[in-house]
């Protein structure tokens, strides 16, 4: 059974009196343990699709199921709880809290979202920081890190709660080519190490080829079958 499935999903934004279709009739499935990418030019609907999968938005039509949950049925609080338990997020702008150290940033989802006692957070934080190679930077603050290091911390933060799925929206957009490659490689390595499903969006051809499954979007529609034919993606 697919971890993520979109069935004939459409999303239309209403801007004043103008209707702007962002997705139309998109159906896809992503199996557990995949390393999948949504690719396409700007405005193709990658972020909209990720937002729907990440329970951050609701489809105008169709059905989005993540880990067996129809996310359209979740209310605001239930959605937040679902994201906190099942999902991890990596953002283009990193979005680390500047007043927290690296370790505290990674600890945030456990401490502030899952409400675990601080003493219980330590081992998990140490484990993911070790996995992303940032153990020696744990006491530093985001302002003291490079872009690549910040994204490593963001990946660690997304993984610390052992989520079923990590969503990354343009995770390499603010990184140079070499760093972008390393971050994508790190995400893949984390998939291998933790078995977490990764879905990221990108329009950067330099990192697309690292994805195992590619969903090409254009003008809100899937234009192709998965470019790298895994056993998971289909239209």
């Amino acid at each position: 059974m697919a971890l993520v499935s979109l069935e004939n999903v459409g999303k239309t934004y209403h801007m004043d009196e103008v209707e702007v279709p962002a997705l139309a009739g998109v159906s896809l499935a992503i199996a557990e343990g995949s390393f999948a990418a949504l690719v396409g030019p700007s405005g193709s609907g990658k972020t909209t699709a990720l937002n729907l999968i990440g329970c951050l938005d609701k489809p105008s039509s169709g059905r989005v199921t993540v880990a067996g949950q129809d996310v359209s049925l979740l209310g605001r609080r239930q959605g937040a709880a679902f994201r906190g338990q099942k999902l991890g997020f990596v953002f283009q702008e990193f979005n680390l809290l500047p007043v927290l150290s690296v370790a505290e940033n990674v600890e945030y989802p456990l401490l502030m979202i899952r409400d675990l006692p601080k003493a219980q957070c330590g081992p998990a934080v140490a484990r993911v920081l070790e996995a992303v190679g940032m153990s020696d930077q744990a006491a530093k603050y985001p302002a003291q890190l490079s872009g690549g290091q910040k994204q490593r911390v963001a990946v660690a933060r997304a993984l610390v709660g052992n989520p079923a799925l990590v969503l990354a929206d343009e995770p390499t957009a603010n990184l140079d080519g070499a760093t972008a490659h390393r971050v994508i490689a790190l995400m893949k390595q984390m998939r291998d190490e933790f078995g977490t499903t990764f879905v990221f969006s990108t329009h950067d051809p330099r990192v697309m080829d690292q994805a195992e499954v590619l969903f090409h979007l254009q003008d809100g529609r899937l234009v192709d079958a998965p470019a790298i034919a895994g056993e998971v993606g289909h239209v």
Binding site: G84, F91, E93, N95, L97, M112, I113
Partner: protein, 416 residues
Amino acid sequence: MFKVIRLALKNLTRYKRRTLLTGLLIAFGVVAVILFVGLSGSFTRVVVGQITDSVLSHLQVHRKGYVASIDNLPLDRLIPSPALQKLEDILAQTPGVAAVSPRIKFAAMLSNYVQTTGARLNGIDPAKEQAAAPLLASRVKDAAHPGTLLKPGEVLLPELLAKGMGIKTGDTVVLVATNRQGSVNGMTFKVAGVVESLMGPGGRDGYLHIKDAATLLRMTTPEISEVAVRAQSFAGVDKLAKALRAALGPIKNKKGQPLFELHTWDQLTPFHNVVRMIDIMILGIKIILIAVVLISVLNVMMMSVYERVREIGALAAMGTSPGRIRGLFVAEGFCLGLVSSLAGAAIGLGALLVLNLTGVEVHFGMANQVFALSPTIAPLEVVWACVIVLAVSVLASLQPAAKAARLEPVEALRHV
């Protein structure tokens, strides 16, 4: 809870200068309240203490209708001997009464053989008067008998009157008075001292022995204008007044009307209105403090939310509940109020301590009255000031916090 507070404190350090300025503004408000309450409270205590402890005492009992015409010092509304005996019995039996001093108040002509003028005088029992108005002795300058107000045959003259007529301690003066029946009598007295003026009723009166007053007024049986009553504690004045009113109420005159009337110090002096005005000003200062805290915390928190929209979006996307996001911002306002109010309280109390050590003198009135203030503030007042700041800080944070909690993650993440 502590983790939210901890994160809120860290968030306050993002814009150190802004937080510092806002905190200083709030602290300044708390300092202003503490200093104003401390100084005005001390001023009120000193002045009220002077008025009650050297002139009025805490309560006064008169024959019904006397106070309405007290400016005339009427001799036809005195408390007769049998009624005085009843009154003294009641006062002796009422708990909370510390001292009682009967007075005969009358107007007389004062002559130093060169000039003659009118004077207001109190016939007193010196020992009883000292017990009921213990600071009266401290107002007597050039006292002939330090520690004792006066002896029979002596008079204490009000300062301005003595100065105007060039009368000094040891001089002989003549007092001429008309009694209730219209009979005029005169007696010579030796000046035993000069009484400093004080604001309010009785503040420019002279004193003589109560027996001399009775003789001068040709009283066959002693009759009393007023009985000054000192309570065991200032805080117990109202309670004592209530008890005495209950005890005196049933005593009627021949017409079946109450024989006595009782007034507390605040009903007898216009300074009570100054006290009320000071209380209103304290309330005004507190309202200004509330406005300062409300506006500054609201401004800081709104700025804080506006500047962190993307971050709030990221926190919400990660699964932080709206309630937790709201809590984080309310906690920031709470922490800002807490730290600022504690700092303000510490600075304010320190300033009061310095004022106490250096001393504060207030010149008041036309008679060169100087009051040495010892500004203090009740701990409860400080706690209240801090609680008000905290409550208003939390109140001011609610709207920005609610706005942050309502942000849609998708919209917030798109915010530039």
